[in-house]
C-alpha cells in the first residue's frame, strides 16, 4: 500500500497541475500505465477533489460550542445533585452553573431550618486551604451585619472533596439586569448603587475585602413586598478563600480566576505584582459597576479583553484610560437610543446628564493609581449623593495631560493645520542645520582645546588612547574607521553611521562609554574629556538619545571639579544645550545656553569668537521656540560683530548666517531670508570650498526657499544634488539626509513623478522616525506633510494613520496644551469631517475644547474661541440645538467680562462682536452691540482695526451703511498698505460702500489700495500675486465682481510668469477665476476656466486625485446651470467615478456630487434616471448626517421635486413636509435662510400640482417674497418662485392676480415691510 499510496499521490498531484480536464485524463491514463486499480483510485480521488471544493475549509469553527458544552464531562462525574445532602444541607434545586461550579438552593437542617444558597466549587482546588482561608476570616465575616450584604455563612468540603460555601439565599437578579428590566432612570440607578457602596464600606470596616465585585455578585431582589428592589452583595470572602496567592505553584489557579472577570479587575489585581490588594480594589470594581450601570458597557470591551493575551489584558487594565461615560455614549451609535430608552430618557439628555459630575466621579473611582481613587467606598457614595443634591462633587475633571492621553489612545489620530506644515518643516530644517554645524564646531573646539596646553595634550592623548584601545578591541577595522571618522572635513570618509565589520561607530562609542568609569576611575577630568568626545561623536551621528547622558555626565563632572566659570564647564554646557536644541528640546536647552553665554562674557569677553558662537546658538534656540523678536536681536547683533571681528569669510560668521536664514525660513519671511541664504552660499563656496558642511547645507536651504515660493523646478535642481551631497558626506542614515529627501519629495511635480514622490516621502518619513525618533519635531512635521499628500491622493486610511501618529507625537513632544497640538487636533477634526467621520470629528473638537479649558479655565478668551469653533462645527453638521446652547454660554461669559467695572476695550469688543456674529441668528443683538462697540472704540482711542471693524458692522446691521463705511475706512487705515487695506477689512468696506450705492467710492478704494500695495512692495515682488489673488476672492465674495476680475487675472498672469504655466498655483488661480464667472452667471467662461484648471491639475496630479474630482464637480455644476445642462451629466459622473476610484465615494463631497447630478438630471427631464440616485443620496445623507442636516434636507427637496415631475406629487408631499421641518431648524443660520424659503416654495408647488390651491398660495407667495428680499429678483430661485406663483393663479383661475405677479413681485403694501437683517 505504501508504494502504491505514493504513486497515487504523485499522480494525483501532478494531474491537478494540468490545465484542462482532457490533459488531465490523458496524463492519468499514461501515468497509471494500464493499472486499472491504480487508475480507478486516482480517478476517484480526482472526482472527490472536484466535489470537495470548500470541504473542511470552514474549519471546525462552524461547529460552535454552545452552552451545552459547559457541563458534560464535569457533570457526569458530579456526585452532588438535587436530593443529595451535604453536611447539614439538603440540595433542593439547581440555581445556576458555571465555570466555578454549581449553586444550589438548599435546606439547612440544623441548628435552624432555613433556606440557603450553597455554592459548590469545581474539583481541583486545594480544598483544605480554601476552607482554612475561609475559617481565618470567619470571625470577621460573622461580624458583618448589613441589610445589603448576603453573608457567607459556612464553608466545608463535599464527600468528593470539593469546597463549598453556604450563603444567605438571595432571590434576585444581577443589578445591571434589574435596572434594565425595570427601566430605571439614571437617578434611580444611582439610588440603587449607593447602598451597594455602603454595604461594601461596612464590610471594609470589618476588615473584609470583597475582591470580586461584579454584577453577578450584586443581586437585587425582585419580589420585595413594597416593590422596591433591595441590592445584596453576595460572595463575600470567597475570592479570598479560593486564593489569590500568586506563587509560581498556583499561578494557574490565579490565572483562571483572572480570566473570568478581567473587566472588573483593578490594575493592582491585574498586575499580580504582589502588591497587597486593599479596600481600594473594591472601590475600583464599584467604579466599573457604576460605569456599566450608567452606560450599559464596562470601561473596557469585554470582547477585546477576552481576545487579548494575558500581557495585553494587563496592559489594557493597567495602562489604558477608560473613555469617560458621557463620551462613551456617543460611541454607541444606534445602541444609544436603546440605552436611553432603558433609562426612560432621550439619547441627548442622557449624555448631558452624564457629562461633568458623573464622568468625574466614575473616572475618579477608576483611577489606575489607587492613591488617586476615592479612599473609601463611602467616599464614592457620598460624592454621588452630592451630585444628586446638586452640590459640587469632590471629584474634579482630571488634568489635561490625563485627558489628552486618554483622548489620544481613543482616537489614535492626528493632523496639523495646513499653514503650520510649511513652518514646521522649515523650522525643522533650521534647527537641524544649526545643530549640525554646532556639533561640528564643538568638536573642533574640543580638539583645539586638547592640543592647546601641554597638560591637556597629555589628557587628550590618554583619552584618545583609551578610545582607540576600546575600539580596537572590538575590531581592528574600527581603528581605521575611527581615524577616518571625520565626516566634516574629509569628504571621502565613510560616514560614521555606517557599519564596519558588523559594528557601527555608534556601537563602538557606546561600548567605550560603558568602560569609562573603570578606565578613568582616579581622573575625573579625563573621564569628562572622554565623555565629551564620545558624546560629540554620537551627536555628530544624530544619535541624540545616546549622546545626552554622555554630555550631561561631562558637564556634571566639570562643574564639580572646575566650578561654573571654567571654560571647560561652559563648553560642556553649550554642547549639551546645542544637543538638546538638536533634539527639539529648545526650552530645556535655553537655560544651559544662557548659562554658557553669561559665563563666556565674563571669561572671554563679549567679542570673543567663542562668546559670539554661543550667542548665535542662543538666537537659534529662541527662534526654535517661536520667540522671533528676541531671536532676531541676537542674530543681528552677533552677525554684525562677527563680520567686524572675524570677517565675512570666517566659518563662525557663515554659521550664524546659516542659522539666521533658517530662522527666517521658519517665520516665512521670504525676502530677507533668501537674500541671506544666497549670500551665504556664495561666500561659503568661496571661503570653505564646495565640500564643507556649511556649503553643503546652504544649497538645500536655498532649495527650501524655492519650495516656499512654489518654485518647484528650481527647488528640485538644488535639492537633488543636495541629497546626493548629504548621502555622500553625512551618510544614508543621517537625519539631515532624510530632511533633504523630504524637501526633494515636496519639490517633485507632475503626474509622471508621483510615484517617486510617494516613495521619497515615505522613505524620508521612515528614516526620520528611525534617526530622530517618533516624537521629534522633524519627524512630526514630515508626518503632517506626507499625511496631507496621501490625503489628497485619497489614501485616507494611510493618511489617517499618519494623522494619528502625529497627534500622539505632538502630545508626547509638546504636551497637551501646546498650540501645535491644538492645531493638530483641529486639522484632524477637519479631516474627519471631510472624510465623513462626522461624529468622531465632533468628539475631537469637544476634546480640544476640554484640553484648552483645562489649561485656561472656562472663561479664558482662548477657551471661548474654542467654544465658538465647536459651535460652528456643530452648525455645519446640523446640530443646531447644541450649538445654540454653547453660544449662549459664550455670550454669557463674554457679557460677564464686558460688564466688569475694569473691563478693557478688548473684552467689550469681544462681547459686541459675539452679539453681532454668533451663528444662531436669533441670539444676535445689534442694538445692544452698538453702544458697546462705540465704547470700545472710545476706550481704544479709535486706533484698533478690530474694534473699528466691530463698530462698523454694528452700524451696518442697525441699518446705517454709510456710517459703517466711514468707520471701516478708518479700520483699513490703521493697517499697513501691504495687506490691500487688509484683505478682509478692505473687502468688507467695499461691501458697505456698494450697499450705500457708491460704486465709485468702492472702485476708488480698491484702485488706491492696489497701487499703494504695488508701490510699497515693489513691482516684482512675488507677494503681489498672492495678495491680488486673495483680494480678488474677497472682493468677489463681497459682490464687487468688476473689480475682482482684473485682480484675479493679474495674479494669474504673474504666477504664470513667475512659476511657469504648469504650476499648482496657476490651477488655483484658474479655479478662482472660474468661480468668479460662475457667481456672475457667466457660465460659458466659467466652464472654459474650469476645463483649463482641470487639464492642468490632471497633468500635475494624475487623474486620481481629490482635487481633480473637486474640479470636475465644480465644472459639472457650472454646466448644470448653463444653457446646456445635459453636458453636466457626464462630467458629474466622471467626478463620481474619480471619488469611487479613490475609495472616497463615502465622503461628504461625493454625496454632494450625487445631489448635483440629481439636480442636473431633473433639469433636463431625465426623471426616471434621477429617481434611484436621489433616493440613494438621501439615504446616504441620512446615515452621514442624520435627518436634521442641511444636506439631508436638500436631498429631500430634490427627491420631492423629482416625484412631482414624475406625477407622484402625493408621494412627494410627506417628503417635502419633512424637508420643510428639517430646514426649519436652519432659519437661525443666516446663510441657509433662503434655502428654507425655497423649500417652502417647493412644498407649495407640490400642493399646487395637487390642485390644493388655497394651501399652496401662502407657501408660494411667502417663499417668493422672502427669496426676493434676500436674494434679489435676478436670482434664479426667485425667478422660478415667481413663475410658480403666476402659474398657481393661472391654474386657479385668478387671472388678475396672475397678471399682477407676472409684472414682478408686487409691493409689500398688503404684507407689511419684512424686516431685513443684514450682515456681511
Amino acid at each position: 500500500m505504501g508504494a502504491d499510496g505514493q504513486d497515487i499521490e504523485g499522480i494525483f498531484s501532478a494531474a491537478l497541475e494540468k490545465a484542462s480536464a482532457l490533459e488531465r485524463e490523458e496524463f492519468v491514463e499514461r501515468a497509471c500505465r494500464g493499472d486499472p486499480r491504480l487508475q480507478g483510485r486516482v480517478r476517484a480521488l480526482l472526482a472527490a477533489h472536484d466535489q470537495a471544493e470548500g470541504f473542511l475549509d470552514g474549519r471546525c469553527s462552524e461547529l460552535p460550542l454552545t452552552a451545552d458544552f459547559a457541563d458534560p464531562g464535569e457533570g457526569s462525574d458530579r456526585a452532588e445533585g438535587v436530593g443529595t445532602t451535604i453536611g447539614r444541607y439538603e440540595l433542593l434545586e439547581l440555581l445556576g452553573e458555571g465555570g466555578f461550579g454549581s449553586v444550589y438552593k438548599a435546606d439547612q437542617l440544623e441548628p435552624v431550618r432555613r433556606k440557603v444558597a450553597l455554592k459548590i466549587l469545581k474539583a481541583g482546588m486545594d480544598t483544605a486551604q480554601v476552607i482554612a482561608r475561609f475559617e481565618a476570616e470567619r470571625q470577621a465575616q460573622a461580624m458583618m451585619d448589613h441589610p445589603n450584604i448576603a453573608k457567607t455563612l459556612d464553608a466545608g468540603q463535599t464527600e468528593t472533596g470539593r469546597p463549598y460555601f453556604v450563603m444567605e439565599l438571595v432571590d434576585g437578579v444581577p443589578i445591571t439586569e434589574y435596572c434594565d428590566q425595570k427601566n430605571l432612570t439614571t437617578r434611580e440607578r444611582l439610588g440603587l448603587f449607593m447602598p451597594v457602596c455602603r454595604a461594601v464600606q461596612h464590610a471594609h470596616t470589618k476588615g473584609i475585602i470583597h475582591r470580586d465585585i461584579k454584577p453577578s455578585n450584586v443581586l437585587v431582589t425582585l419580589h420585595d413586598p413594597d416593590g422596591a428592589g433591595v441590592p445584596k452583595v453576595i460572595d463575600f470572602g470567597i475570592a479570598k478563600a479560593t486564593g489569590d496567592r500568586l506563587t509560581d505553584k498556583t499561578v494557574m489557579t490565579g490565572f483562571r480566576q483572572f480570566i473570568g472577570t478581567p473587566a472588573y479587575m483593578s490594575p493592582e489585581q491585574a498586575e499580580m505584582s504582589g502588591l497587597d490588594v486593599d479596600t481600594r480594589t473594591d472601590v475600583y470594581s464599584l467604579g466599573v459597576l457604576l460605569y456599566e450601570l450608567l452606560t450599559g458597557r464596562t470601561p473596557f470591551d469585554p470582547q477585546a479583553l477576552r481576545q487579548a493575551s494575558y500581557g495585553e489584558i494587563q496592559q489594557i487594565i493597567c495602562e489604558e484610560e477608560p473613555v469617560r461615560p458621557s463620551l462613551r455614549l456617543s460611541t454607541l451609535g444606534g445602541d444609544l437610543a436603546e440605552l436611553a430608552r432603558l433609562r426612560r430618557t432621550e439619547p441627548q439628555a442622557l449624555s448631558r446628564l452624564l457629562r461633568g459630575d458623573l464622568d468625574w466621579i466614575v473616572l475618579r473611582a477608576l483611577e489606575k493609581d489607587r492613591t488617586r481613587r476615592y479612599e473609601t467606598a463611602a467616599g464614592l457614595a457620598a460624592d454621588i449623593q452630592r451630585h444628586l443634591s446638586h452640590e459640587p462633587v469632590r471629584a474634579g475633571p482630571p488634568g489635561a495631560t490625563y485627558r489628552l492621553r486618554k483622548f489620544v489612545r481613543r482616537n489614535r489620530v492626528a493632523v496639523t493645520a495646513a499653514g503650520l506644515v510649511a513652518a514646521a518643516v522649515l523650522l525643522g530644517l533650521a534647527v537641524a542645520t544649526a545643530g549640525f554645524v554646532q556639533a561640528r564646531r564643538d568638536r573642533d573646539l574640543a580638539q583645539g582645546a586638547r592640543v592647546r596646553a601641554d597638560a591637556e595634550a597629555r589628557r587628550a592623548q590618554a583619552v584618545s588612547t583609551f578610545l582607540q584601545e576600546m575600539l580596537a578591541s572590538v575590531d581592528p577595522m574600527q581603528l581605521r574607521q575611527l581615524s577616518a571618522f571625520s565626516p566634516y572635513e574629509d569628504a571621502g570618509a565613510s560616514p560614521g553611521g555606517e557599519f564596519v565589520g558588523g559594528f557601527s561607530v555608534a556601537d563602538m562609542a557606546r561600548g567605550a562609554s560603558a568602560k569609562i568609569d573603570q578606565a578613568f576611575a582616579g581622573d575625573p577630568e579625563l573621564a569628562a574629556a572622554a565623555r565629551e568626545t564620545i558624546g560629540m561623536t554620537l551627536r555628530g551621528l544624530g544619535l541624540y538619545h545616546d549622546a545626552a547622558p554622555e554630555l550631561e555626565a561631562a558637564l556634571e563632572i566639570r562643574r564639580r571639579i572646575h566650578g561654573d566659570r571654567h571654560r571647560d564647564t561652559l563648553r560642556s554646557a553649550l554642547q549639551l544645550g546645542g544637543l538638546l536644541a538638536d533634539a527639539g528640546r529648545s526650552a530645556e536647552a535655553e537655560p544651559l545656553v544662557r548659562f554658557a553665554l553669561e559665563g563666556m562674557w565674563q571669561v572671554y569677553g563679549a567679542e570673543h569668537a567663542r562668546t559670539l558662537n554661543c550667542a548665535s546658538v542662543l538666537a537659534l534656540v529662541l527662534s526654535d521656540q517661536g520667540r522671533y523678536a528676541e531671536s532676531h536681536r541676537f542674530f543681528e547683533e552677533t552677525l554684525r560683530i562677527q563680520r567686524r571681528v572675524l570677517g565675512d569669510r570666517h566659518r563662525d560668521t557663515l554659521a550664524t548666517m546659516l542659522h539666521w536664514s533658517g530662522s527666517y525660513l521658519s517665520q516665512g519671511r521670504l525676502t530677507e531670508g533668501q537674500a541671506l541664504a544666497r549670500e551665504l552660499y556664495d561666500l561659503a563656496r568661496e571661503a570653505l570650498g564646495p565640500d564643507d558642511s556649511i556649503t553643503i547645507l546652504s544649497k538645500p536651504l536655498i532649495g527650501w526657499w524655492y519650495l516656499e515660493q512654489g518654485r518647484y523646478d528650481r527647488a528640485e535642481e538644488l535639492l537633488r544634488p543636495g541629497l546626493a551631497d548629504c548621502r555622500r558626506i553625512l551618510g544614508g542614515e543621517h537625519p539631515l539626509t532624510y530632511i533633504t529627501m523630504h524637501g526633494l519629495a515636496r519639490s517633485l511635480q507632475g503626474r509622471e513623478r508621483q510615484e517617486e514622490k510617494e516613495r521619497l516621502h515615505l522613505e524620508a518619513l521612515a528614516g526620520l522616525r528611525r534617526t530622530r525618533g517618533e516624537d521629534h519635531w522633524h519627524t512630526l512635521s514630515t508626518t503632517v506633510d506626507v499625511a496631507q499628500w496621501l490625503d489628497g491622493k485619497g489614501k485616507f486610511g494611510e493618511a489617517g494613520e499618519l494623522y494619528r501618529a502625529l497627534l500622539a507625537g505632538c502630545v508626547r513632544a509638546f504636551g497637551s496644551g501646546h498650540p501645535r497640538t491644538l492645531a493638530a487636533m483641529n486639522t484632524l477634526a477637519d479631516f474627519l469631517e471631510r472624510t465623513g467621520a462626522l461624529q468622531e470629528s465632533i468628539w475631537i473638537r469637544f476634546d480640544r475644547l476640554a484640553v484648552i479649558e483645562d489649561g485656561a479655565g472656562r472663561t479664558h478668551g482662548v477657551t471661548v474661541a474654542a467654544v465658538v469653533d465647536l459651535a460652528e462645527a456643530l452648525v455645519r453638521l446640523g446640530r443646531i440645538a447644541e450649538a445654540r446652547e454653547l453660544t449662549e454660554e459664550v455670550l454669557a461669559i463674554r457679557r460677564r467680562f464686558a460688564e466688569r467695572p475694569d473691563a478693557d476695550a478688548t473684552s467689550i469688543n469681544n462681547y459686541a462682536w459675539s452679539l453681532l456674529t454668533c451663528v444662531p441668528i436669533d441670539l444676535r443683538d445689534p442694538e445692544a452691540a452698538l453702544p458697546l462697540a462705540e465704547r470700545a472704540v472710545a476706550m481704544s482711542g479709535g486706533r484698533q482695526s478690530a474694534v473699528l471693524d466691530t463698530l462698523a458692522l454694528a452700524y451696518s446691521m442697525t441699518g446705517d451703511d454709510r456710517k459703517a463705511a466711514e468707520v471701516q475706512q478708518k479700520a483699513c487705515e490703521q493697517l499697513p498698505p501691504q495687506a490691500l487695506g487688509g484683505v478682509g477689512y478692505g473687502a468688507v468696506l467695499v461691501r458697505y460702500l456698494l450697499r450705500t450705492g457708491d460704486v465709485g467710492a468702492a472702485d476708488r478704494f480698491v484702485a488706491d489700495s492696489v497701487e499703494g500695495f504695488r508701490k510699497s512692495v515693489g513691482q516684482d515682488n512675488p507677494r503681489i500675486a498672492v495678495e491680488f489673488n486673495a483680494a480678488g476672492v474677497a472682493l468677489a465674495n463681497a459682490g464687487h465682481y468688476s473689480m475682482a476680475e482684473p485682480l484675479l487675472l493679474e495674479a494669474l498672469e504673474l504666477n504664470r510668469e513667475l512659476l511657469g504655466s504648469e504650476h499648482g498655483r496657476v490651477a488655483d488661480g484658474l479655479r478662482n477665476l472660474a468661480g468668479l464667472y460662475h457667481m456672475q452667471g457667466r457660465y460659458a467662461e466659467a466652464g472654459r476656466a474650469y476645463r483649463e484648471a482641470l487639464a492642468l491639475r490632471r497633468k500635475l496630479l494624475g487623474d486620481d486625485h481629490l482635487l481633480v474630482a473637486e474640479t470636475l464637480h465644480s465644472l459639472g455644476n457650472t454646466l448644470r446651470l448653463g444653457p446646456d445642462a445635459a453636458a453636466a451629466i457626464p462630467v458629474l459622473r466622471q467626478a463620481l467615478d474619480t471619488y469611487r476610484r479613490l475609495n472616497a465615494d463615502g465622503v461628504p463631497a461625493a454625496s454632494s456630487v450625487k445631489l448635483d447630478l440629481v439636480l442636473a438630471l431633473l433639469r433636463v427631464g431625465r426623471f426616471e434616471e434621477a429617481e434611484p440616485l436621489a433616493r440613494e443620496t438621501l439615504a446616504r445623507c441620512r446615515t452621514l448626517y442624520g435627518p436634521e442636516h442641511v444636506d439631508t434636507a436638500m436631498a429631500m427637496r430634490a427627491l420631492g421635486r423629482l416625484l412631482i415631475e414624475l406625477g407622484e406629487a402625493r408621494q412627494a408631499e410627506p417628503i417635502l413636509r419633512q424637508c420643510v421641518v428639517a430646514f426649519g431648524r436652519f432659519h437661525l443660520i443666516e446663510s441657509e435662510k433662503w434655502r428654507v424659503a425655497r423649500a417652502r416654495g417647493t412644498l407649495g408647488y407640490c400642493l399646487a400640482s395637487l390642485r390644493r390651491f388655497d394651501e399652496a398660495e401662502p407657501l408660494l407667495v411667502e417663499s417668493c417674497r422672502a427669496l426676493h428680499a434676500m436674494k434679489g429678483e435676478g436670482f434664479i430661485a426667485t425667478r422660478i418662485a415667481l413663475e410658480r406663483v403666476v402659474a398657481l393663479y393661472e391654474a386657479w383661475g385668478k387671472a388678475d392676480e396672475a397678471a399682477r405677479w407676472r409684472a414682478g413681485v408686487p409691493g409689500d403694501e398688503e404684507h407689511g415691510v419684512q424686516s431685513r437683517s443684514a450682515a456681511p
Binding site: M1, G5, E9, F12, S13, L16, A44, L45, L46, A47, A48, H49, Q51, A52, F55, L56, R59, C60, S61, E62, L63, P64, L65, T66, A67, D68, F69, A70, D71, P72, G73, E74, G75, S76, E97, G98, G99, F100, D248, V251, M252, F255, R256, I259, G260, T261, R306, Q307, S309, Y310, G311
Partner: protein, 190 residues
C-alpha cells in the same frame, strides 16, 4: 510558569514523557476555558473551537515569544484535543437523539442546529483515523488546519514541511477524506 509551558519546555528538551502529558493538559485546559467562558457569558454566546485553541495558546504559551518547537508541540496536542472534545460532544448528541445517555431536560435550538454536524463530524473522525493509518503526516495536517484552525503556512511550519508540500498534501488529504466519507455512504447502502 504554567503547567503547559512547563511541559512544553520539558518536551522541547527531549523528554518523551512530557509530550504524552501535553495532550491531557491541553485537553483539560480547553475544556475548562470553554466551560468557564460559556458559563459566564450570556446564554446565546457561542465559542468557535479554533478560536478557543488560539486563545488557550496565547494565554498559556504566549504570542510570538514561544519557539517553533513549542508551537509545534502545542498545536499538535491542541488539534487532537479539540478533535476529541468535538467528537465526544457529537457522540453525546447522537446518544441524546436516540434517547439514551444522560438525562437532559431541554433540547434547545443550538442542539438541533448542530445535530447534522455531529453526524458529519463522527464520519470525519473515523475517516481521519483511517487516513492516519495510511499517512500520518497528512492526517496531522488536516487536524491542525481543521481542528486547530491553523493556516497552511502555520501548519507547514508545525509539521516542518514546505508551504508547497503542505498545499499539495492538503489537496490530497481533502480529496482522500471526501472520497472515503462518501464511499462509506455508498457501502453502507450495499
Amino acid at each position: 510558569m504554567s503547567e503547559i509551558t512547563r511541559i512544553l519546555a520539558a518536551a522541547r528538551e527531549g523528554d518523551a514523557r512530557a509530550a504524552d502529558e501535553l495532550l491531557p493538559a491541553v485537553y483539560h485546559e480547553l475544556r475548562r476555558l470553554a466551560a468557564q467562558r460559556l458559563a459566564r457569558e450570556a446564554a446565546d454566546e457561542t465559542l468557535e473551537p479554533t478560536a478557543l485553541v488560539h486563545e488557550v495558546y496565547l494565554r498559556l504559551v504566549g504570542g510570538g515569544r514561544a519557539d517553533w518547537k513549542s508551537r509545534a508541540y502545542f498545536f499538535a496536542a491542541a488539534a487532537e484535543a479539540m478533535r476529541r472534545i468535538l467528537i465526544e460532544r457529537a457522540r453525546q448528541k447522537q446518544r441524546l437523539k436516540r434517547g439514551g445517555g444522560r438525562q437532559r431536560v431541554e433540547l434547545d435550538e443550538a442542539d438541533l442546529i448542530t445535530e447534522s454536524d455531529s453526524i458529519g463530524l463522527l464520519a470525519l473522525d473515523e475517516a481521519l483515523d483511517r487516513l492516519a493509518a495510511e499517512n500520518p503526516v497528512k492526517a496531522e495536517l488536516v487536524k491542525l488546519r481543521y481542528f486547530a484552525g491553523l493556516t497552511v503556512q502555520q501548519s507547514a511550519d508545525v509539521l516542518g514541511i514546505s508551504r508547497a508540500t503542505a498545499d499539495r498534501y492538503w489537496l490530497y488529504a481533502r480529496a482522500w477524506l471526501y472520497n472515503d466519507i462518501t464511499e462509506g455512504d455508498d457501502s453502507a447502502g450495499a
